[in-house]
Structure formats: C-alpha cells, structure tokens
Amino acid sequence: MCLRNLFRRRTRTFLCILAIALATMSIVAIGATTSRYICIIKEMHIYFRGKVVVVSKGAIVIEAFPIGGFGSLPQSMAEKVQKIDEVENAVPMLFIYNIGGTLEAFPKNFTIGIPYGNWQVLVGPTPLKLGGHWPSAGSSENEVVVGSSLADQHNLTAGTKITVNGYNLKVTGVLDTSSAFLSRSIITSLDLVQEMYGYHMLINMIVAEPMKGVEGEELANKIEAEIENIEALTEEERIDLAQPLISDIETWVLGIRTLLFILSMIFVTTVAMMNISERRRDFATLDAIGAPKSFVFKMVITETGLMGLLGSIAGILLGSVAAILVASLYTGIPISLFFLSIFDITPPLLMLEILVSTVTVSCIAGVIPSIAAARMNITEALRAEY
C-alpha cells in the first residue's frame, strides 16, 4: 500500500529518491575514498613495529615513510646509526613516492630500495607467489619484485621484463599480499633505486632495530643525541604524526555527511508534507472508518522510510562506482581491476552503515508529516473535498 501510494506520484517520488540517491552516492564515494586512504595510512602502523625510523629533520612523514622528495640523508648516515651501541641493526632505505602527474595527490605506486638480503625489514613474512625469488646481488640484470596489484594491472609474472623510468628491469617475483601499500610497491636493491631516481649515495630513511632490552624511545633519544639534523621516530611517534591527518579527514567526512543528511531530510520532509496535503481525504476517510492514529503515522513513516531505502540502495550502487572511478583516476589502475575488489573499495560495513543511516534519517524526516497526517481534522478534511 505504501509503495503504491508513493508511485501514485511518480515524478515527485522519483525526484525525491534521486535526491536521496545523489546525497547517498556522495556520502559513499567520499566515505569509501577517504576510508580507503585512512585504511592505507593505518595499515602502515604494521611496518617497522618496535623499530626506530630515522629521517632527515623537517621531512614530511606519513607513518614511517617520508614523502614529497624532501630531506634526503647521506647513505653513510646508516653506518653512523649502526655504530650506536644500542642498535642491533640499521638498514638504509630509499622510498620513492611515484605520483602520476604533477596535479595528482595520490601515488600510482611506490618504489623502495633496500640493500640486498634485508627485504624482510619491510615485507616481514609476506611470501612471494609461486616461482618467484628476491633479487640477487650476483645477477647481471636489474631485478625487482612487484606487488600483486601492479602485477595484476600490467600482467606481470616472474620473468617479465618491464621498463621503469627508462631502466629495463626484470621481475623476479610477485608479492602475495592484499596490503594496499605493498601491492602497489616495486621493491629492489638500494643502489638500483638510487641510480634510477638520481639519488647517488643518498637515502631518505634508516630503520634501526634496538638491541634486546632497549626501548624504542630510549634508542630514539640516543640517536637524536648523537647525530645532528635527523629525527628518530618511535612507533608511537609515527602513529601520532598521522593522527591529526586522519582526524582532519574524518572530521571533514563527518561534516559533509551530516550536511547531506540534513539536506536529504529537508527534501524528504517537504515531499512528504506535499503528499499528505494532497491526500487529506484519504487520511480523513481512514479516520472516519476507525483507523487508529498509529496506523496513519506508521503508513507515512513507512513511505518516507521506503524512499530512503530505495534512494540509499541506488546511492550505494552509484557511490561504489563513483569511488572506483575516483580510485582509478588517482592510481591509474584500470577500473576493471577495481570491480573485482569492490568490497575493498566500499566495505560492506560502510554500505550497511550508510543504508541504515539513510533509512533512519528518512524515517526521522517522516515524523513531522506523520504527526500532521495523524492529527488531521477529519471533518475539515472531508468538508474541504465536497
């Protein structure tokens, strides 16, 4: 009955559902895009756990990784760090954040240079797909390991030849990982990355492992005391550095979402008020034949809830597609690859959250029209039609 009441005024209902769908689409697209990047940032918490990351003073760091090409360090700095008594091991790294074009905010991939044999400092226990091996120092070719997303995108397997930044490289393995960061990474030897990107004897981070029994903070303090113009970041400090960024993003998303919900609510209320004012005789008839006020109340609430449900379903579908388009635009990964992992881009929990929120907001928007319909003066409404 409620659905039929809605479709009695097709154009108005369609426009209302479209407005809800557009608002929901924006919420989903913004939510999915930002939550994905927040997820990537948070995912980086897992790297270098318990270790101290040394970067140049003033470098812009997200979690452990320096971005923006600022603040390189001489490679010899790693030897200085290694010489500190409390350091078990110090691994120099060169982390390159490859953006596709000058105006793009998000990287298409990451290139990471690590000295041969130290790969586990970055990838931990992440295995290579069957048939792959890590680059070997004795090889005459420029060997690299690539992440699974890059491999899927460019159809790479162990043995494939690729060209990056004018260098011919040979893929020796594909990382078997779903990590958003590692799956977009090219990992190879430090000297090769230095050569490819013009960082001769330069690095931009050192990962220092403390001796047994030495706390990260103690080691960081020691490093900063002994070496000038560097920052030694403990795990907590790295998380703290990213936190304001995450909070800002979350606040903006919440603000936009609230605004869109309020606009949807106003729209639904207006349409519902128009509908009930045109159906005064129906409500008066229901009242005259003894329908309880709660029946009328529930009917109007259900109608607005249905508009919210239909709008949110359409919005979630459109928003998921929009989120994929945005992700594809920023990363250069073909849309077809994202469709396979649509639930990674727009997690089911986010979909459910937005569906429930939109239906709830629509039901709330129906409260005033429902009360107006239930309180309608029956005799006036009946008389007005005669």
């Binding site: 009242d287 005259a288 034949i289 003894g290 029956i378 005799t379 009946l382």
Partner: protein, 225 residues
C-alpha cells in the same frame, strides 16, 4: 444501537464570524430504523452526521450511544465504535485510490484485526452481494460511479455495523444507479436490521425512510409530510 442527542450544537468559526451549523438538535434514533435527514446545501446535514457518527465533537450538547454519553468516551474507544459499530458511506465514495476494490473492502476488516483468510472471505461475500464479484482486482478509477458507490457500501458493511451513516449517497449518481443504491440501503436496513441514517436531497430516499427529519440552518424538525 440506539442513538440519542440532547441539545446538540456545533459552531464553526469562519474568519471573524461564527456559524452555527447544528443548533440544539434533539433526536432519538431507534435500532433498525431507516432515517432520512433532508435539507438544502449548507443546512448542517453533514455536520449532524459527523457528530452522530463520532467523527466530530459538539460545541454544546451531547450524543448518547446506547445510553452512554459519547463525550465521556476516549478517542480510542470512539475509533473502535466507528470501526466496528458504524459504517460510513460518503457522497464522493472516498475509496482509497491505490487499493483495489477487494483491498478497500478488506481494510476495515484488517483494522479490526481479522485474519487474512477472514478478510478475503468476508470481502468477497460482500462484493458478490453488491454484484461486484468480477471487479475485485480493479482500482476505483476503473469503476463506474455506481460501482464505486457499491464498493463504498460493501466497505461500510465490512465489520457488520449496527448503523450505516450515509452522507448524500445518491448525490453523484444518475437516477438508475441512485435507485439501485437506495434499494441496496433499504435491503440492508430490512434484512440485516441495520439502522440507516441518510442525509439526502433525494425524494426517493424520503419515500422509503421510516422517519424523515428536515434540517434548515442547523435546526432539526420532524417532517410530517
């Protein structure tokens, strides 16, 4: 169901002036009678029916339903009386346009808490009684005016009310369908022993009514013609 009114008065405020639509009406309606209330347009017929049918509250005076003062009855109880003991038939039929003929008749049964099977069975019987058994899945707009009025009567009978209140039920009908409607109401009154109270201009209704009242400017008088 006995209905009695005492000094029943209903005033409306229109702008700065006050209109007395029903003025000190004293009326007694016994069970199973056929009552016609006649009067010109705007004389207060519909207002009186709304007061008797517990759709409206009087400004002064009282309505008694089986000796119970309706002003002392809660809003919920008034609705129950409207749902179970009174059936309404409107001049413009007031069928819900999004429901089928069958659903319109099932609605009061559903509101009364009847099961789906009971609703279907009762509604079908009523619609067959008004010769609309073959139109049950049609929407009101697909029916003729006479058919719509018969659906409205079937709906009014859904919960076997003791009283039918009909506000100008033949006002929109041609003479043939008006006669059919009058016959139907008369049958209901005689066969079911249902009290029928009709506000009308129609002389044919007056002819079949047990008692006819005339209302002019809100004042009710017994028609002795």
């Amino acid at each position: 169901m006995r209905i009695k009114t005492e000094e029943l008065t209903r005033k409306f405020r229109v702008g700065s002036s006050e209109i007395t639509a029903v003025n000190r009406v004293n009326l007694e309606i016994n069970e199973a009678t056929f009552i016609a209330i006649v009067g010109p347009s705007g004389s207060g017929k519909s207002t009186l029916l709304n007061l008797i049918g517990l759709n409206d509250q009087p400004t002064y005076g009282r309505v008694f339903i089986d000796e119970t003062d309706a002003s002392l009855i809660s809003g919920r109880r008034r609705r129950e009386i409207r749902l179970l003991r009174i059936g309404f038939v409107f001049q413009t039929f007031n069928l819900l346009p999004t429901l089928t003929v069958l659903e319109n008749v099932e609605l009061p049964l559903s509101l009364a808490g009847k099961s789906q099977e009971e609703q279907r069975e009762k509604a079908m019987t009523l619609l067959e009684n008004v010769s609309l058994g073959d139109r049950i899945y049609h929407r009101p707009k697909e029916l003729s005016i006479g058919e719509m009025q018969r659906v409205a009567i079937a709906r009014a009978l859904a919960n076997d009310p003791e009283t039918i209140i009909a506000d100008e039920p033949t006002g929109e009908l041609d003479s043939k369908t008006a006669k059919e409607t009058i016959d139907l109401l008369f049958d209901i009154n005689r066969k079911r022993k249902t009290t029928v109270i009709v506000a009308t201009h129609d002389e044919k209704i007056v002819e079949v009514a047990d008692t006819t009242y005339t209302i002019i400017d809100g004042k009710l008088g017994l028609n002795t013609n």
